[in-house]
């Protein structure tokens, strides 16, 4: 019998709240974190997209100036979320050699890299600061969290585009089940609201261009969806071996009952129209959790609001859950937060854990005319979930054909 893994601490910094209580209150209410960008680079580079979903509490209001100076914004978000989760877990003593980090990112320190490139071109190599490398490296966030909390059982960085955050939970579960760690700080961080990623995602027609109405731009499952809204932030979860949590009488939010990761091997960016890779991921995650499709009481969908992306997820859910899919309340929280890329899976896992713990499914905003080809039961205003034993799923899919699913069970 594999070791059970439970979740005992939650942290987040997001466009709809700088900490978990604020984010969750807003998620139940249904708010938009998307706003018009006022930076001069929007006009300077004539970007086709003029809005994004920035963190609601700037990192500079949380970290000291010196802390912030040595961390790329993505690592700043990671440290903020991880500190909140750690405090929330109530852990006061830990065997640091049995404490690991699995902190994902999709892109890494893109601000640092591109700022340094500007400095090199404008002022020459001497002015490229020596902290550039540790700040831009994709493992920077995992390393910063490990250093901050003294986690010495490895600091891992899963990188699988927009599936990264969910894959971090998969990795964390494996680390504890295999006996390599007793406690894992798992999460994801992203800070890519920079003109280059905005231009690149625009160029591939992935971003919404609803420039005149940012708050209604992220509209998963709506007939008139036209792309995702770039978000930023981080989510963090303290994973703990069940016996470790019980021994210290921890408050347990729920069980990380199963995870799975698959690859489409179909196309570098387009989702498999039949959702085969996603279906395999869903089935494998349920199997890993020893759960039946009928046990599923809630899904936090990947649902980014792109015209081509939302539909195959429905196809996969239908294939994995069968007719039961019509009974499952589905929340698409990217309608509120925007798409946090490599952090999205972690933030959505935090919401899924809270949904199971508090028996409340968060709201999906901006659904005005549901796409008739996606006949899911979408939660448009926060809804109670049933009592008794349930599981909830959180899905993430990423460019490259990455599919990752986590299963949360009440404890």
């Amino acid at each position: 019998m594999a070791r059970k893994v439970v979740i005992t601490g939650l942290g987040a910094t997001t466009p709809i709240g700088g900490d978990v209580p604020t984010m969750w209150r807003n998620a139940l209410k249904g708010v938009s974190g998307a706003h018009t960008l006022t930076d001069d680079w929007v006009a300077k580079y004539e970007l086709p997209v003029h809005f994004a979903a920035r963190v609601s509490t700037p990192a500079s209001e949380v970290l000291t100036r010196v802390e912030a100076k040595r961390l790329d914004p993505s690592s700043q978000f990671a440290v903020i979320a991880a500190r909140e989760a750690w405090k929330d877990s109530g852990i006061t003593e830990v065997d640091h050699d049995r404490f690991a980090v699995a902190f994902a990112t999709g892109i890494g320190g893109v601000w640092t890299l591109l700022d340094a490139w500007d400095t090199l071109r404008e002022k020459g190599p001497r002015r490229v600061l020596p902290m550039t490398v540790p700040m831009l490296m994709p493992n920077g966030a995992a390393a910063a969290v490990s250093l901050d909390l003294g986690a010495r059982a490895g600091a891992h960085t899963p990188v699988s585009a927009c599936a990264s955050g969910t894959e971090a939970l998969h990795q964390g579960l494996e680390l504890i089940r295999s006996g390599k760690a007793d406690v894992v700080m798992a999460g994801g961080a992203e800070a890519a609201i920079h003109p280059l990623p905005l231009a690149a995602f625009s160029s591939m027609q992935a971003l919404s261009r609803r420039n005149d109405d940012p708050e209604h731009a992220s509209r998963p499952y709506d007939r008139d969806r036209d792309g995702f809204v770039m978000g930023e932030g981080a989510g963090a979860l303290v994973l703990e071996a069940e016996e470790h949590a019980l021994a210290r009488r921890a408050r347990i939010y729920g069980e990380l009952a199963g995870t799975s990761v698959t690859a489409d091997a179909y196309h570098i960016t387009a989702p498999d129209p039949e959702g085969l890779g996603a279906t395999r991921a869903l089935k494998a995650a349920l199997f890993d959790a020893r759960a039946q499709p009928e046990d599923v009481a809630h899904v936090n969908a990947h649902a980014t609001s792109t015209p081509v992306g939302d539909r195959p997820e429905y196809t996969a859910l239908r294939a994995a859950l069968g007719d039961h899919v019509q009974n499952v309340p589905v929340s698409a929280t990217k309608s509120q937060t925007g798409h946090l890329l490599g952090a999205s899976g972690a933030v959505e896992a935090v919401m899924t854990v809270l949904a199971v713990y508090e028996r409340k499914a968060p709201a999906t905003i901006n659904l005005e005319n549901q796409d008739p080809e996606i006949p899911l039961d979408i939660v448009t205003t926060a809804r109670d979930l049933p009592s008794g034993d349930i599981v909830a799923l959180s899905n993430s899919f990423g460019f490259g054909g990455h599919n990752a699913v986590v299963v949360i069970r009440n404890h």
Binding site: V66, K69, R127, P130, M131
Partner: protein, 81 residues
């Protein structure tokens, strides 16, 4: 050209910006590593910022000789001349 007092004040500002140390802690006889706990990466950042602030060039091979704040003030003052 900056006086030694101005160089010291400017260095203290740069050190404060990089490490958070109070400017008044940056005194002439203080060792960057032993007293101010400045690691090699921060030291290089301080050097690069000092080069810009005082319009001087501090070669990499010279940095290891700048053990105290006073050494840095003397070097910058000489390099300005």
């Amino acid at each position: 050209m900056a006086s030694n007092e101005e160089i010291l004040a400017g260095l203290a500002e740069i050190v404060n910006e990089e490490t958070g140390l109070a400017p008044e802690a940056v005194e002439l006889d203080k060792s960057f590593t032993d007293d101010l706990d400045i690691d090699s990466i921060s030291m290089m950042t301080i050097v690069v910022n000092a080069e810009e602030k005082f319009g001087v060039r501090i070669p990499d091979e010279e940095v290891k000789n700048l053990k105290t704040v006073g050494d840095a003030v003397t070097y910058i003052s000489g390099a300005q001349a």
